[in-house]
């Protein structure tokens, strides 16, 4: 007990000689400033970083989480809409391409996105600038639509490896561009990705072949909506020629991989009345366990088709979490400095 008392006496002596602090922001230790900055919305952070160099470097060292982000071309400018904790927190329309690029760079640097949707259109023609100047995006689910295909590939290369889903619009995608995309490591490893409105017929067998070559995990999923007829047949022919077919009917094709316990299943999307979707065919490709029985297949394709094209089933629309109208209505438009 006496030794305890001695320790306490020593410690309390130390406490007593601690500094008496002043009461200004500048006298606060950096760790407390960072804690406070962590509680600020992006607007306040951007304003604080304009006050002095020291504040700028502090603000820039702190990441900020967004559950939704939308960067979209609108009348020659880019519109940025970012939301945090399901509350809309930041809205800005860039003034000119340089400002747009600087803001993408900044938001990419500090942002940690749950969902990020990018639609650059054809705004960026200098693709080298995107490759060299952009940092890595930290994003869980990324959606790239209505983009110059080269911009799309550049951004994909700038996404950190732990991305969980990639959604792409593929109306400008050629076989060569698809090959480039399939070379990107996080595309090879992502648990879910899809291409909407693909105009060629080669994506299904190429993705399956990439999974076979890389021994991809069970659960890896790729979906596509394709305008051209013939993807299903091309897939069947490609793997039949390589003696990989396990089973095949008009709805599904199942193939072997190099791992005896892994199969790949291709499913075709059907209308509720059993008809094939004529205006855009829907496909789902999955790495499955070789143990999965045919009786365990799920015939309800509505859910997975909705995931690739939410607008196809009107009854689902009201529940869509990605409505643009909702996005735009919720924001107040202000002017921001960064």
């Amino acid at each position: 007990m006496s030794s305890d008392l001695k320790i306490v006496t020593e410690m309390t002596k130390k406490w007593s000689i601690g500094p008496i602090y002043d009461t200004n922001w500048c006298d606060m230790p950096a760790e407390i400033k960072l804690e406070c900055i962590g509680k600020m919305a992006l607007n306040e952070r951007l304003l604080l970083r304009c006050t002095a160099k020291a504040e700028r470097s502090l603000v820039d060292s702190q990441k900020i989480k967004f559950n939704k982000g939308l960067i979209r071309k609108s009348c020659g400018d880019l519109v940025f809409l970012l939301s945090r904790d399901d509350k809309y927190t930041f809205a800005k329309r860039s003034k000119g391409i340089n400002e747009a690029f600087e803001l993408i760079k900044y938001i990419g640097k500090i942002g940690v996105f749950e969902n990020l949707e990018i639609s650059f259109g054809y705004l960026f023609t200098d693709t080298k600038k995107l490759i060299t100047d952009l940092g890595l995006f930290t994003v869980k689910n990324i959606e790239l639509t209505y983009c110059n295909i080269d911009n799309m590939i550049d951004v994909l290369r700038k996404v950190k490896n732990d991305v969980e889903s990639i959604k792409m619009g593929g109306d400008t995608m050629t076989a060569e561009k698809l090959a480039e995309i399939l070379e990107i490591s996080h595309v090879q490893n992502v648990p879910y990705w899809h291409i909407l409105n693909y105009e060629q017929t080669d994506c299904l067998y190429k993705v399956a072949q990439m999974w076979i070559d890389r021994n991809s995990k069970i659960g890896s999923t790729f979906q596509a909506s394709v305008y051209q007829l013939g993807s299903f047949e091309k897939f069947s022919r490609h793997f039949n020629d390589r003696d990989r077919l396990v089973s095949m009917n008009e709805k599904r094709v199942r193939i072997r991989t190099n791992k005896p316990d892994h199969h790949i299943l291709l499913e075709r999307g059907f209308e509720e009345d059993g008809e094939i979707h004529l205006y855009g065919q829907y496909f789902r490709l999955m790495v499955i366990s070789a143990e999965l029985k045919e009786s365990e297949y799920n015939d309800n394709c509505k859910e997975w088709i909705y995931k690739i094209n939410p607008e196809i089933y009107k009854e689902y629309d009201s529940a869509s979490p990605y409505s643009y109208d909702e996005y735009y209505e919720g924001f107040g438009w202000g002017s921001f400095v960064y």
């Binding site: 406490w15 601690g18 200004n24 006298d27 407390i32 406070c36 600020m40 006050t51 002095a52």
Partner: protein, 188 residues
């Protein structure tokens, strides 16, 4: 649960109120500790309330003080203003053994008090209260321009910072020169 005394040696703190004994098992009486700030006003706080402070809790968890020893050895926090320590003690008492709510609206609105509270809470390692305080600090600049923020938080401009730095260097140079001259004089 707490009482405040003027000075450590004057009035003895009130005895802790004890809960009525249960018929099934007698409750262990709660232990109390004593803290004081810059103003030497002693606050009696239960060990349960002090659990919020990781700093104090870490200290006292295996101490086994008797009431007399605790009373004789109040923990001194000379770097914390008395009214700020009172706020901290009150908060710890109010939230003793309770889950902390998502927001706390009873924090000081005055800048100086809030900053003092933040620093005290950070020092005492009271995580939940620090979170509330930092939220409140962040709210202070909501909707303000950079100039207003600079004014509210007294942030010097880069030019002012540079001038202050130059001045400090100049002063340090003069002091060093003075010391050298004094040393040379001593040598003679």
């Amino acid at each position: 649960m707490s009482s405040t005394e003027q000075g450590t040696s004057s009035a003895a703190p009130a005895e802790p109120t004890t809960a009525p004994e249960s018929a099934a098992a007698p409750e262990v009486p709660e232990s109390f500790y004593y803290v004081h700030g810059k103003d030497k006003v002693v606050h009696k706080v239960s060990a349960g309330a002090l659990q919020h402070s990781a700093l104090i809790h870490g200290m006292i968890s295996n101490l086994g003080y008797t009431e007399e020893q605790a009373k004789a050895n109040p923990f001194p926090f000379e770097n914390i203003d008395g009214d700020i320590l009172q706020m901290v003690v009150d908060w710890c008492n109010q939230h003793k053994g309770k889950p902390t709510p998502p927001e706390d609206t009873n924090l000081p609105k005055q800048k100086e008090k809030l900053f003092d509270l933040v620093l005290a809470v950070n020092y005492l390692e009271i995580k939940e209260l620090l979170t509330y305080c930092c939220k409140q600090v962040a709210m202070m600049v909501k909707g303000k321009s950079p100039e207003e923020i600079r004014e509210i938080w007294m942030i010097p401009t880069d030019a002012e910072d540079e001038a202050a730095e130059k001045e400090a260097k100049k002063r340090a140079g003069k002091e060093a020169a003075g010391e050298t001259a004094a040393a040379a004089g001593d040598a003679k």
